[in-house]
Structures are given as structure tokens and as C-alpha cells.
């Protein structure tokens, strides 16, 4: 196997801002909170940061000016990892020597949080053409009054139920388990206990999804410092090592894939496993995207953690995915209960778990963590080690 370049990268620092619903706090202020913490956590000074990249709200030039830094690296280099692309690009950049310490952040606000890269270059801009390429069937969905990812993914979920007998209660076990873990996460927005009766009684959004199958929009910011692996041991915090990354070109859009209801997560996971000797059975903790409950099911199957159609029985009852279970899953409470940090809290949590710094929700000595983000034609995942 060719040595994958991302193995020469580490995550040297992590930072998270205040998280909340309708905080009224400016996005730039949240960004500065997470970025300053991540740089300090990495044991670096701001003037040692030579790369800065992000996705969506609070553009990097504004953040660079406010932080007083002049980065030379601005992103690009691994463009098929969906929302995780800026992090993956940073891995490649430090491996190739284009930068030494790249600060990557994601800031979301309840009224923001674009699902796809915004069009920054007008009609023909790169972001827009990327969106069109990934969403070849978006026009058909909009014409059918299917305006939201909740509609599109509800149909994946329904198909999965028809094919495999997956049940609404099985989706509910993920929501319940996530809420239990959120209770141990001081930053989570929803910590009150949740029962199966509560879950089943929630108002329907787009059947079979109801409100508690959907993640919770929040304001917040999360940042990472990505450094070259030769910085490991020199930082202020234990390094998190990068074992492998995977992304997908997103062929087939939302619903024209021959293997529907599978998604781009299949190709992303296959790429991940092609870049490492580790296997699914080596995973100690899994932080899998849960913009909707079913997306976590799709990732469990795509990553080979369980077989096709087996995600429902896998999570049923909640024991297997508990903090002391065979595979602790979404240990921070997930986007379902902790909050919708749009793919970045999963990564933040994986780092804390591997560093042994997850507090009350720490699982016992994990060495390998998997992180995944995305749904439909957008997918990225990574394998990290302590």
C-alpha cells in the first residue's frame, strides 16, 4: 500500500466556543473563541499559524484580520470530503510542506449553516458548479415540493425500512442513547432525559422522520490546529494522529444511484479503508454524522461496522452503543442532542476521547476513532488514532 500522505499530519489542538440556541452572539466572536482556544491548546502562538481555512459562515479573511494573522495557505487540495474537506485539505497541506500549522474552523449560526459551499464566484463560481455536480437531481426534488434534506433523506430511510424491516423505534434508540450522553456533556443544548414515548409522540416533520429525528440548530464555533506529524510531542496537548481519510465524488446525486438507498458514504468509506491496514473491528469509538437519525444508520453500514440493513438491530436497546458498550457511538450527544455543529463536533469529540479528556463521558482508553460527516451525495470520513 502506498503510504497515504495524511499520515504525516496530526491534530495538535482543538477549541470550542460557547454553544447555544439563539445566542445573539456574533459569528466572528464565536470564531475567535474557538480559534484562540485551539491555538493555545496546540501550544502555539498565533504568529506561528501559517494556514487558515473554513467552510461557510464567517469567511477566513475576516477571521484572519481579527486574529491578526497572515496565513499563506488558504485551503484546497482535497475537495471531495464534503464538510470535512477543509480539515482534509489541511492534512494534505502540512504533509506536503505547504504549511506547518493550519487553523481550521467551522462556525455555524442558527439562521446560517449552508449545507453546501456557498457560491463565491458568481453564476459560474467553483462552489456553485460543485453544488450542481453533486446535486444533478435537485431540480426534480424542488419541483416535487421536496425542499429540504429532511424530505430527501426521509425517502432513503423509508426505502431502508421497506428493504430491511428497520423500524421507527430503532431510529428512536439512537435519539435516546444520544440524549443520555448529552447529559454528560456540559456544552450540549438538550440534556433532559428522553423516553421512547416522548420520541414516538414528537410531531412529524417528513415521515418517517419526526422532530426528534432531526438535529438541533445552534450557534457555535469549533476549531482545530492541523500540524505536521513532526510537531507531535512538542505541543501542549497529546497529538491526535491521522490514520486515513476518505471522500466521495458524489455520483448519482440524491436518488439516481443504482444502489439506492445507499449514499456517497459508501465510496468515502471504501476510500478510507483502502488507505489503512486497520479494519472496522479495530474501531474503539465512533462519532458518526446524525443530521438525521437515519444518517448514522447509513454510516454504520457504509463503514462496515455492521452489514447492510443491520444498523437498526445494531443500535436497538442502546447497550451496544452506550459509553460502556461494544462501540460507544456519538459520545458527546450527537447533533441530535448536543447541537448541530455541522460535522465538526464529531471530530472535536473524537479528539477529546483519544486524548482521554472527555470528562464524565470518557470511554475507556480508546486508541482508534472513526469520524464521518455527510449525507446523500456529500460524504467524508476519517480514522484517527491516539
Amino acid at each position: 500500500m502506498t503510504r497515504a500522505p495524511e499520515k504525516d499530519a496530526i491534530i495538535s489542538g482543538v477549541g470550542i466556543s460557547r454553544i447555544g440556541r439563539r445566542t445573539g452572539i456574533d459569528g466572528l466572536e464565536l470564531t475567535l473563541e474557538s480559534c484562540r482556544k485551539a491555538v493555545e491548546d496546540a501550544g502555539l502562538r498565533l504568529d506561528e499559524i501559517d494556514g487558515l481555512t473554513s467552510l461557510g459562515d464567517t469567511p477566513p479573511p475576516a477571521a484572519a484580520a481579527a486574529l491578526g494573522i497572515e496565513p499563506v495557505y488558504h485551503g484546497g487540495g482535497f475537495e471531495t470530503g464534503g464538510l470535512l474537506s477543509p480539515v482534509m485539505s489541511a492534512f494534505i497541506a502540512v504533509a506536503e510542506g505547504k504549511a506547518r500549522h493550519v487553523l481550521v474552523y467551522r462556525t455555524v449560526q442558527m439562521m446560517g449553516g449552508e449545507y453546501v459551499p456557498q457560491d463565491e464566484g458568481g453564476e459560474g463560481g467553483e462552489g456553485m458548479s460543485e453544488m450542481r455536480r453533486l446535486m444533478v437531481d435537485i431540480e426534480e426534488m424542488l419541483a416535487a415540493n421536496a425542499f429540504s434534506a429532511v424530505n430527501w433523506l426521509a425517502m432513503h430511510c423509508r426505502r431502508h425500512m421497506e428493504m430491511y424491516g428497520t423500524t421507527k423505534e430503532q431510529l428512536g434508540w439512537l435519539a435516546l442513547s444520544s440524549r443520555q450522553k448529552a447529559a454528560l456533556n456540559p456544552l450540549a443544548v438538550y440534556k433532559d432525559p428522553l423516553t421512547m414515548d416522548d420520541y414516538m409522540a414528537a410531531r412529524p416533520i417528513s415521515t418517517p422522520f419526526s422532530l426528534l429525528d432531526c438535529d438541533v440548530p445552534v450557534d457555535g464555533s469549533i476549531a482545530f490546529v492541523v500540524s505536521h506529524a513532526d510537531y507531535a510531542g512538542d505541543g501542549a496537548s497529546p497529538p491526535v494522529r491521522v490514520e486515513a481519510i476518505g471522500g466521495s465524488p458524489g455520483l448519482g446525486g440524491w436518488f439516481h444511484r443504482p444502489d439506492y438507498p445507499k449514499m456517497a458514504s459508501i465510496e468515502a468509506a471504501n476510500q478510507l479503508w483502502s488507505r489503512t491496514d486497520l479494519r472496522p473491528s479495530d474501531i474503539d469509538v465512533a462519532e458518526l454524522y446524525d443530521g438525521f437519525t437515519f444518517l448514522t444508520f447509513a454510516w454504520l453500514e457504509a463503514l462496515g461496522i455492521c452489514g447492510d440493513g443491520e444498523a437498526g438491530p445494531f443500535v436497538e436497546g442502546g447497550q451496544r452503543i452506550a459509553l460502556d458498550g461494544d462501540l460507544p457511538l456519538n459520545t458527546y450527544g450527537g447533533q441530535l442532542s448536543a447541537g448541530r455543529m455541522h460535522g465538526y463536533w464529531v471530530l472535536h469529540e473524537a479528539c477529546l476521547q483519544l486524548r482521554g479528556q472527555a470528562g464524565e463521558r470518557q470511554v475507556t482508553s480508546p486508541e482508534v476513532a472513526v469520524v464521518s460527516v455527510g449525507g446523500g451525495p456529500i460524504a467524508g470520513c476519517m480514522l484517527l488514532t491516539s
Binding site: 426534480e140 416535487a144 426521509a154 425517502m155 436518488f255 438507498p261
Partner: protein
């Protein structure tokens, strides 16, 4: 003759192009026109200029308009200021080819009666240039 229905309310319809025009307007003459490869005869959606399987040239051809329900969702959330829920959204598979899927709305059926594999057939909603294909159960309840 395929049934033409009045428009059901606001729809966000695509900008017509040389590639998609036949698909979205064919209902005006009673036909659901789907891209088909002249070389390998494979049907293809969304409409395309070239066959994604063999690269051959394509042209729009009428399909039978019969299909089976593949998956569906009943949307309850108001996402667009001019479109009122509930919306019965579905993917149907056209009978011509097992992977020929179309996003649509189901009409003349209650959500609780929808089943995977239910036989449905096309009807068109009149939006002027565009005749939007919706699907109704073949067996009325």
C-alpha cells in the same frame, strides 16, 4: 388520453434548457418524454445529452407512464412560503427500466394507503409551458 389536471399550487419549476425541455413539456401533448440512448437504448433520468452508460447520443422518447412506488414521505413542515403542506412526495420507478426513477407527487391517494410497489400512472398538471408529471394509483380506492 393521459389526464391533464389543473395546477395544484405554486411549484418551483426548473429553467427549461435544450436538455430538459422535452421532459418537462411533453405532457402538453399527453406524453411523458424520457431521454433514451440511441445506441444502447438505455433510458436515463435526469435528462441528459449523452448516455451516462455508453456515451451514445440520446433523444427523448415517450414512456408508457406506468410506474411503481419506490419510496415516499409525507412532508408536514412548511419550507416554502407559497407551498402549503402536507405534501406527498415520492420516488417512482417507471415500468420501462428497473432503475428509472423519478421524483414526483402522488395524487388521489391518502398517505396511509401508499405502499412500496403500488402501481401508479402519470397525469399532468398544467403550468403553462411545463406539464408537471404527478402519479395516481392505477386502481382507484
Amino acid at each position: 388520453m393521459t389526464k391533464v389536471r389543473p395546477r395544484s399550487g405554486t411549484r418551483i419549476l426548473p429553467r427549461l434548457t435544450d436538455t430538459n425541455r422535452a421532459f418537462w413539456t411533453g405532457g402538453g401533448k399527453g406524453d411523458l418524454l424520457v431521454t433514451r440512448c440511441e445506441k444502447c437504448h438505455r433510458w436515463e433520468l435526469p435528462p441528459s445529452q449523452e448516455c451516462t452508460a455508453c456515451g451514445g447520443p440520446t433523444r427523448p422518447e415517450p414512456v408508457s407512464g406506468t410506474a411503481k412506488v419506490y419510496t415516499w414521505t409525507l412532508n408536514h413542515q412548511k419550507f416554502h412560503p407559497d407551498v402549503e403542506p402536507p405534501n406527498l412526495i415520492a420516488l417512482v420507478v417507471l415500468d420501462e427500466q428497473e432503475d428509472l426513477r423519478l421524483a414526483t407527487n402522488l395524487v388521489d391517494i391518502d398517505a396511509e394507503d401508499v405502499k412500496s410497489g403500488l402501481p401508479v400512472s402519470v397525469e399532468f398538471e398544467d403550468y403553462g409551458d411545463v406539464f408537471y408529471p404527478v402519479f395516481a394509483p392505477v386502481e382507484p380506492k
